[in-house]
């Protein structure tokens, strides 16, 4: 059974070689934890396989035993960091779907390096071949848009969001605006991330509310 089969099977949806032995799984997590530290300290370019390996006291080739490529490792790091962010902030759900995205953006920019990692990987995903991040982000975008579309439809029926626009379009717009604003904010914090995203939120208010 190849690792690809395992990737697509339902029991082990993990990026990289799965590690069926308990020790390997633990080591994998250890690598991701160290890797995100290195990324935070040294940025995308500074996060070479050798640098991560050095932080763990092994050679860079050891990492390629757990992940097929540097890119795949970075995707796993992002997923790991995002999951941790969600863990630390579960249980908090605003009324409207759009505000979920607003708050996610606020959290993102507080995790050092996370937005940079995201941008780096998205850029890599646009590369012609680049199977690792391309498939990850394609399905990620799909899932987020779908979830958001459903929530928006519910909000529209509940009269919380204006219904003269297609929920599907708005979902894509929210994701785009959120992603784009985080980048702008990192380059120029004076734009006010929260106010700007709230302005978007206001655009979606139903006409009756005005």
């Amino acid at each position: 059974m190849s690792y690809l089969d395992r990737m697509t099977s339902d029991d082990a949806p993990v990026i990289g070689r799965s590690g069926s032995y308990a020790k390997g799984v633990a080591r994998r997590r250890e690598i991701l934890d160290r890797a995100i530290e290195v990324f935070t300290e040294r940025g995308a370019d500074g996060t070479s396989l050798r640098r991560i390996a050095q932080a763990l006291g092994v050679s860079h080739a050891a990492l390629l035993h757990y992940f097929d490529s540097r890119e795949q490792l970075l995707v796993a790091v992002y997923e790991h960091a995002e999951a941790r962010r969600d863990e630390e902030n579960h249980g908090h759900r605003p009324e409207r779907a759009v505000d979920v995205m607003v708050e996610a953006a606020m959290l993102n920019v507080e995790v050092p390096g996370l937005v940079q990692l995201y941008s780096t990987l998205v850029a890599a995903a646009l590369e012609a071949d680049s199977s690792a991040s391309k498939s990850f982000f394609t399905t990620r975008f799909e899932n987020v848009r779908e979830q958001l579309t459903n929530d928006l439809r519910r909000d529209q029926e509940a009269g919380l969001v204006r219904d003269d626009v297609d929920a599907k379009d708005v979902a894509a717009l929210i994701v785009a605006a959120s992603d784009g604003l985080q980048i702008q904010w990192l380059l120029e914090p004076s734009i006010g991330l929260q106010e700007t995203l709230r302005a978007f939120s206001a655009l979606l208010a139903p006409p009756a509310a005005r």
Copy 2:
């Protein structure tokens, strides 16, 4: 006089060593033209200094004579490609400011590699040091937002755009949405770039129009 002085002076706002001799300026343009071809063909990672140099029949060191670094060269390539895009499509100005951005996005995704180059450079700009693209995109975002803010204010006064939201916030949102959607569209063309951006346009319509 250093190259930085020339950058900030008003007579020669060019990225990289300016080349005060006419021949040098022509050669510079030649490099950029070839570089964008290479980028289109081989993607971001495949566009090494050596590969561009090979396409020109020179060594990679020759390129470093015109540009301080690979990153600076790529920024110049983007600027060049964007300028060419505008040249080929001047004279066309929609009524509302938001629609200018909508059409710019449509044009961007038609130039192969342009969005990828943009994303790559933005990711590089978020790197801690990264002086080359960081300063370029910081000022670029500032300029675009400022221009857009002014246009939006005019539209608001003319009753073309609702005036219950701050033009400054909307400007940042438009840029973010446009950038973000181009990426989503490249990964999943089924989202419909034009319709989605038109949905945003609709959100900005004044209440009277509904």
